[in-house]
Symmetry: C2
């Protein structure tokens, strides 16, 4: 923990086109500054500026909440006012939880992230302002912003923690460039079974159930077989799971033979058929 820099601007100015600058305006609690750094790192934002932090800067109390994102705190630059903090920025967005009587384009967090990516791609330097914990940015602060950002959230409980507000923007910033498919089947060691593998298993299962007398009701048999098939067709069974199920059938069939031979139990009750 080397502590923040009070002076720096020139050397801390990210090249245009780097990730956006997060500006905390008059932040009050060191813990929130630390939690902001953690949220920034989570979402791939690395440039933090502080405007007139209430308790000064650096503050050791910020570091535990940063959970390893220390470098963001170490390099945080401090400015006396917004004008100085955004002087080298080409665009300034400001978060604005409540409606205001100002005439400024208003984006939700997702549209703001798309805008940040677009500005970024043009190699411009862009800042996003977040207001103090208690009341957010004031009208004079918002007048520095060319664009406002408001998150659609429960209007009955719209008061966001400062680091939560940063988290949502950082998350949307990351998501705006994310290419991972939104839906996957998590398979490391195996693959979905082919339909041929599934048919082979179902043939075996039905044969064993026939042998066991489970499918002994001829009028109901087609529906019962279909029900079994429906279940096994769902859920993209994997090749590994099919091998396990083959083993289960083998073991249960052996048990039946053993029981049938030695215990003379009653035959099992067939499942209810949809037919």
């Amino acid at each position: 923990m080397t502590g923040g820099r009070r002076d720096g601007r020139a050397d801390l100015t990210p090249p245009p086109g780097e990730s956006p600058v997060v500006v905390l305006v008059r932040p009050q609690m060191a813990q929130n500054i630390g939690a902001t750094a953690r949220a920034m790192a989570n979402g791939g934002l690395f440039h933090l500026r502080l405007v007139a932090p209430r308790d000064g800067w650096p503050q050791e109390a910020a570091y535990p909440a940063a959970s390893g994102a220390d470098v963001i705190l170490d390099r945080a630059a401090v400015f006396p006012d917004i004008r100085a903090a955004v002087a080298d920025c080409h665009r300034v967005l400001g978060t604005c939880p409540r409606p205001r009587h100002v005439i400024t384009p208003l984006l939700d967090a997702r549209a703001a992230a798309a805008e940040l990516r677009a500005v970024n791609a043009r190699e411009l330097r862009v800042a996003v302002l977040f207001g103090p914990e208690r009341a957010g940015l004031e009208a004079d602060d918002l007048a520095h912003c060319d664009t406002l950002v408001r998150y659609p959230l429960n209007p009955e409980h719209a008061s966001l923690n400062l680091a939560q507000a940063v988290m949502i923007l950082a998350y949307e910033w990351w998501m705006a460039a994310e290419t991972t498919p939104p839906r996957q089947l998590q398979t490391h060691a195996t693959r979905p079974a082919t339909k041929g593998e599934l048919e082979h298993f179902l043939d075996r299962l039905v044969a064993e159930l026939d042998a066991a007398g489970f499918l002994h009701n001829p009028p109901k048999r087609p529906g019962m077989v279909r029900n079994l098939r429906h279940w096994f067709e769902r859920g993209e069974v994997t090749e590994q799971e099919l091998r396990t199920l083959h083993g289960v059938v083998t073991e249960l069939a052996r048990g039946r033979m053993v029981r049938g031979r030695f215990a003379g139990e009653a035959p099992p009750v067939p499942w209810e058929s949809e037919g």
Copy 2:
């Protein structure tokens, strides 16, 4: 602060089709439980269950971080294990920050929110499990889940605070049903100007600039007028702003006349033309 209920299940079971149940599995810090309740309220989630909280429940220390979402804490139900906590649920999703060797459908937060809304619309009861702060859900916990959720975030710094993880899901839950347009121009007291109003203003401005001698270079005049028009065409000027600009032109023109009459100043330097 009435404290949580240790017993409750039957009376705390949300009707199927209500908002999803958030289940914190072995949560460690009361402050995180409180911050979770706040994030839930922000995103319109109201049902909280706790599985074996480390320090027991209720805990007064949770309430300050809830920032008014006390009712969620008051009504939080405590269960000894996951099996009991999800017994009345039809679907169970589990957050899973790191890849695991399990074969389960994996959704990102946005797809998970869409899935939650879809399950909800079918009037089924659905739970989302969040693991303990240090390490998340264990393999035996994940075995209770029919679906896993992983947020795409910076892999270099993927460790999310527990309440941040809940916040992202709650935010996506809310967004999945949000109908506010993602981009608006925030206008309360006025409306965008019509093109006719804008033309009227530009005519006046150009006439005053002609009178002032600002557009005195005939070859450059068309390009300069076009430049002015480009600027005023951008940014969806409002009717109110046009009225202000009319006043500005009037005042500046009056100033010019005064100065021209009494001070005999040099004519202003024309702006550079693109032509």
